[in-house]
Every structure is written in C-alpha cells, then in structure tokens.
Symmetry: C2
Subunit: 334 residues, 2 copies
C-alpha cells in the first residue's frame, strides 16, 4: 500500500491539490473552514509531503548534505552538532554520508549527496582531491571544514593549525623540554599546517624538529611511538590528534615509560576523549561546535545569495593543559 499523496488528501477534504498545498505551507489566504478540513484529512491519512517532489516542483531545496570523513573520530560528531544547530535554525535539514577516510569512498559519498540536489554541501575533513569538489561548487555551494582551498567558489572553516602546534611546542618548551617529536597526520586533512607550525616553532626555539609520519588514528599513534623509541625516545610528543595521542600514550606505557613522568604527550582537538577524566590529555582545543555552526552559516549565506566572495574562517585554537604534560625528568630532578 503506497503512501498517501497530496491528491488523496485533496480528495478526502473535497478540495483541489493546489489548496492542500497552500494549507500545508501555511498560506494565510485560505478560509478557516477549508484549512481545518484539509488538516483533518491529512491527519487521518497520516500524510507527510514528499520532500523531493516538492523540491523538484519548487526548484528549491532545504537540505544540506554533509560528508563526514570518519564517523569514528569523535571530533566530527561534535562538529556535526554545530552544523545541525546552525542548519536547523535556518530551516534546513541535514543529510549525512560517510567517506571512510578513503578518497574513492569520499568521491562516491559526494556524488551520492549531490544526487539529492541539496542546497549546499559540507565536507568534513575530506581527503579527496580538490578537483572533486571544485566542479560541484559551480552549481552547489560547498564548504570545507578542516581543509583549506583557494578556490573562490568554496568556503572554508579551519582552526589555525600552525598557531595550535606552536602553542603546544611553546607549552612544552616552557616546561623545560628540548627533545620534542611530532607525529603528523600523514595525508589527512590539516596535517600540513600543523606540521609546519611545529617545525617553525621548534626552529624559533633553536631546537631540532623530529617528525614521524602518522595518521589520525590510535593505531598510528602507537606505531609512531615504537618508531620513536630508538635511538632514544624524546621527552615530549605532539600527536596528530587526540585519538593518535591516546595510542601514543598506550605504546609509551607498554614500553615502560610513564606519562608524563618520562614523556609528556599533547593531543589535538580536545574531543570528549581528551576530557575523559581517565585520560586527562593536554591538548589543543578547536572550537568544534562553532566550526560546525560557521559551516552551516556559510552555506546558508551562499544559498540565499547573500554572499559571493569566499568565506575563510580561521579560528584561534586554545591550549588546554591537563595531566599528560609535566617538566622532563632531568629538569624536575634539579
């Protein structure tokens, strides 16, 4: 048994399709009697409008497509919260897709999203090549979160990764560390600026950078630490993100090194994982909900044609000191 259509409602209420349409969209130019009849008929039939037929006919859409690169990383859940709030308050609805941190899968996800002809698309931490979304941005507003772009039809929302890494380095240096290693995010989104920020800050302090390639996962954090163990472990590690940091901590402890006693560890993101009292990770906070909200806003502005120049949000990160950083052993013994 197919779902009831507007035609069914019209028939039951004894009016025309057009009238039902008006009532459903709250037009004031409908008599109270007819309005009541239509609403009752709709109610009785359990009618709910076919959103896509509607947007096909009206040539408009109130759907924002969201591609999440990695549903497992709590960071994105928190960004989605902000996006959801922003979209909702502007009368838009979210449709989410996931990319599994693979360019090919992300491409599919984006195509899938676009096939709904959404009003706009947000790509959260995409790793796909820029060409994949610049084309789309000609027809549909696109906003990138945690990834930069110079394409003028694409908006971006990022934290200042260079500044964030520098804050972490400065914090560690001020504690007395001089051997500070960095596990990077490989070809993950935003890993380049964070790496640059780290290297620059190290040089500024007259220290030698030591970067080991990683990924935004726990396993990569653990693997990277094993690589760092020889010839001699650093006294501090700036991880790619919180997840990565937790993996690094585990591997350090497995190797018989205590955190922060022997090695200090700093994460990045400040997700709930870092805040777990049991983890208490010193980390760099990104304003996650705010980033989501700004992404929604950027899209909505483009949709409404209120802006044609690219939005380039670069938000200031913030150091959050918790329990995984301390003065190096040699220093504390002084």
């Amino acid at each position: 048994m197919p779902r009831p259509t507007i035609e069914d409602v019209a028939a039951r209420a004894g009016v025309s399709r057009a009238l039902v349409s008006l009532v459903l969209r709250g037009s004031p130019k409908v008599s109270a009697g007819r309005r009541a009849a239509v609403l009752r008929a709709a109610e009785e039939l359990g009618y709910s409008p076919h959103l896509m037929a509607r947007s096909l006919a009206s040539r408009t859409s109130h759907v924002l497509g969201v591609m999440v690169s990695d549903l497992h990383n709590p960071f994105w859940a928190e960004v989605v919260d902000g996006l959801d709030a922003g979209a909702r308050s502007a009368g838009f609805e979210l449709v989410i897709n996931t990319g599994g941190r693979s360019p090919a899968r992300e491409r599919q996800a984006l195509t899938g999203l676009l096939s709904f002809r959404p009003a706009g698309v947000a790509l959260l931490g995409p790793v796909l090549p820029a060409s994949a979304f610049t084309g789309a941005s000609a027809h549909t507003p696109v906003v990138l979160v945690s990834r930069s772009s110079r394409v003028s039809t694409v908006d971006t929302v990022n934290d200042d990764g260079r500044a964030g890494s520098a804050m972490a380095v400065d914090h560690l240096v001020s504690l007395g560390h001089r051997e500070i290693a960095h596990i990077d995010g490989g070809n993950g989104s935003q890993s380049a600026p964070r790496r640059t920020g780290y290297v620059t800050a190290m040089r500024r302090h007259g220290l030698t950078p030591r970067v080991v390639r990683g990924e935004y996962t726990e396993a990569a954090g653990a693997a990277a630490v094993r690589a760092l163990l020889s010839p001699a472990p650093p006294t501090a590690v700036l991880a790619a993100n919180d997840l990565n940091a937790v993996g690094a901590i585990s591997a350090l402890e497995e190797a018989g090194l205590s955190v922060p006693g022997d090695v200090s560890v700093v994460g990045y993101d400040n997700t709930w994982l870092a805040a777990l009292r049991h983890v208490s990770l010193t980390t760099i906070d990104q304003p996650r909900a705010e980033m989501g909200r700004l992404a929604a806003e950027a899209l909505v502005h483009r949709v409404r044609g209120e802006r044609v120049t690219p939005a380039r949000h670069l938000l200031p990160p913030r150091l959050v000191v918790r329990a995984t950083t301390a003065a190096p052993r040699a220093m504390s013994g002084l």
Copy 2:
C-alpha cells in the same frame, strides 16, 4: 547556473531523453556509437542524474534511511560501518540523520528521513515511542537496532542483553565479588533487558542486586558512582555501557579508589574506547558490524518482498576480560 539535466545531455549528444536514460542505466540495447556520444556529452557537462526525479519516475528507491540516536557514542559508528557495507553490496545508499537522544528530535529525524521516501529505514538505538514508527512501518520497512518490538511489520536486531549482563555478573562472582552494583541505562534503548539480566543473575548467586539509575553517557557514569559511594561502595560495578564505565572509573579514582584494586568495573559494547590500551576495559562485546549488516539485510529482504514475517535477530554477546576486573581486595588478601 543550474545543473545540467538529462535534456541537456540529450541535446548535446543529438539524441532523445529516453536514449540517454537507457545509456545511463547500462541498457544493452543501445548502439555503441550513440552510447559513446551520450557518455561523452554527459562527461563534458559534468552531468549526474537527479536521484529523486529518478525515483519519483520509477517509483523505486535505492536509499536506506538511518537514524542514529547518538553520534557521540562510538558504538553507533561501528554499527553504521556494517550497515554501510551491507547496503552498498546490495546496491543501496545510506542517508544518515541524528536524533540526539531526545524523543522529539528523533521524531523529527524520522520524519525527515521518510520525506525522502527511502526504500527502508533503520533506527539505531531509538528512544522514541513505538507509535512513532509502527505507523511508518505500514508503508516503509523499518528495522530497529538495539531496541525490541513486538510489531510484526518491524524487524529487530539486538544482542541478548540479559545474557550479556549475566556473563558480566558470573565473571565478577567467579573472581570472588559479592557486592556488585549496576548502573543502568535509564530509559535508553536496551537498558531494561540488561538490568533484568543483572538482577536475575544476582539472585541466582544468592546476592542482593543494587541498581542505580544512569544513562548511556560518561557524565552519568560518574554521577552514579558518587551515589554508590555511601553508605559503602560495592566491590564491583557493571556499567550501562563503555562510555558510562569510563565515567565511573574516573569518579572512582577521584574518590581515591583504585580500579581494579578496590573496585572492579565492567562495561558493555566493546567499542574502540574499551579496547584503547590506555583504558583496557573489561566489557561485554556486541558484534557491532554484524548487527549493522543484519539490519541492512533485513531491510533489503523486505524491500525485495522476500520476507513478510518479522526478522528477530538476537545475537550472543561475549565477555572480553581486560584490565579493569580483578579479585576483590579482601579475597586477594587471603
């Protein structure tokens, strides 16, 4: 500039709309020459079909709607992985929505999903009243994950929560515990069977159940522990889920109690959070990916009309012993 339509492609390739449609859907009854021309035109225009116009015309859908109750709980990300794999291999695509653990929001999410007229809908850990989805299930196949239902038009995929809780209790009892408390999941999905399993197992061992109301969050775990501290803390706690367990552990440690030295803690779900070496939580494993796969399969079977009887998957949970459980202090002193 609007996106190109099938009409644009047809014009550019010098053929009719219908022919383009045939080519795009891989019909064999098209000459090689025309096919090439059409594909080239589509390529040049960057054309991608309007999925909703397609499903409107064909009266079919290859979209599965997914309502995730809580995007922050890693459990669901792992279920979605399975769902995605299952859907993909059957030629379906996922559209995800989130409910924020609130009945009202979930209702909106479900309505939003249904307005796309998906082939089927999966509700992951819904807390909304059954009436909200029984109506929908008359028109659209519905599968519930981590929530039971007796409605014959609704399929369900659950782990055996009673058995899972019993396993946890048995494990703790075998270690020598007698004062075992349970933090429940409040009105969260599946909290009832887990609680029943706990109470039944406790009675079977001649022990007195002690249940404190909770929720599937870290904060609730911490709050529940504070309530458990007086008059005297138990020697073991079965938490509502992994997230909850981690909160409980933090609160215990804050109160000066060590885990598992003073108090043993068992989680539920076996998400990556529990597996983090830094957490090493003893927990009850649910086959998350498998549950997602089964949910997708249930939907696909209904869509294809291959089954009209309700699917009732009840999967066996499994005890995973890690580092948060040990014999109680009094025993180990013997």
